[in-house]
Symmetry: C2
Subunit: 122 residues, 2 copies
């Protein structure tokens, strides 16, 4: 299974747009039922399944989020990308994320690499 880079980038852009403008359930709907999410990588917690993933994003529902794709790389049915996440106009985080997708373009796994050294107070 393999996608054109443009298709993978469209999946990622849809995800970033939904993180910025959608509800936790909207974001979780982009994931498969049995997807996994680790954010941040090494944080000790892997969220398994769409319900757990919706719970993870609910924490972000009360703040204003902006997203901007900075760098994008495609590979087969996977994508690696860096983006900027601005939280309530007060904080900017620049993670590198890696995602895998199923044949329908739903996210089967997401891993976010970032730490406090990638957070800037605005």
């Amino acid at each position: 299974m393999s996608f054109e880079p443009e298709a993978l980038q469209a999946f990622v852009q849809r995800y970033l747009d939904t993180v910025a403008g959608g509800s936790a359930d909207d974001i979780a709907a982009l994931y498969t039922e049995d997807a996994t999410l680790e954010d941040p990588v090494g944080g000790g917690e892997v969220h398994i399944g769409r319900q757990a993933i919706a719970g993870f994003y609910k924490g972000a529902a009360s703040v204003e989020l902006e997203t901007e794709l900075l760098t994008f790389r495609a590979g087969g049915h996977e994508a690696a990308f860096m983006f900027a996440l601005t939280v309530s106009g007060a904080m900017r985080i620049e993670p590198i994320e890696v995602m895998t997708f199923d044949a329908d373009g739903q996210i089967t796994s997401m891993k976010a690499y970032w730490g406090e050294q990638n957070v800037t107070q605005l």
Copy 2:
């Protein structure tokens, strides 16, 4: 198992320095015996084991390589980073790579995300 970001970045820098200045066997020695390597991701081939990995890097032994770390993210015992690879001063590739490390700092897996759209002729 978890490393400080500085330790992970040092492992990655050692890898990039060895790619630029070492032999295929030098690079392969940074990997564990049973490590896996996929470069590019989606290319259809996963190299398994240090001998196969040395074979992969032998193809690069006849060209002059320069490497420069551009962006680095740490997470637990993993690292995600973007770097520039300059080949014989004629071509520049900017992959995003993801690596996992064992407790001794040896590479247990490497995945390189890039495609022809990330290659620039100089």
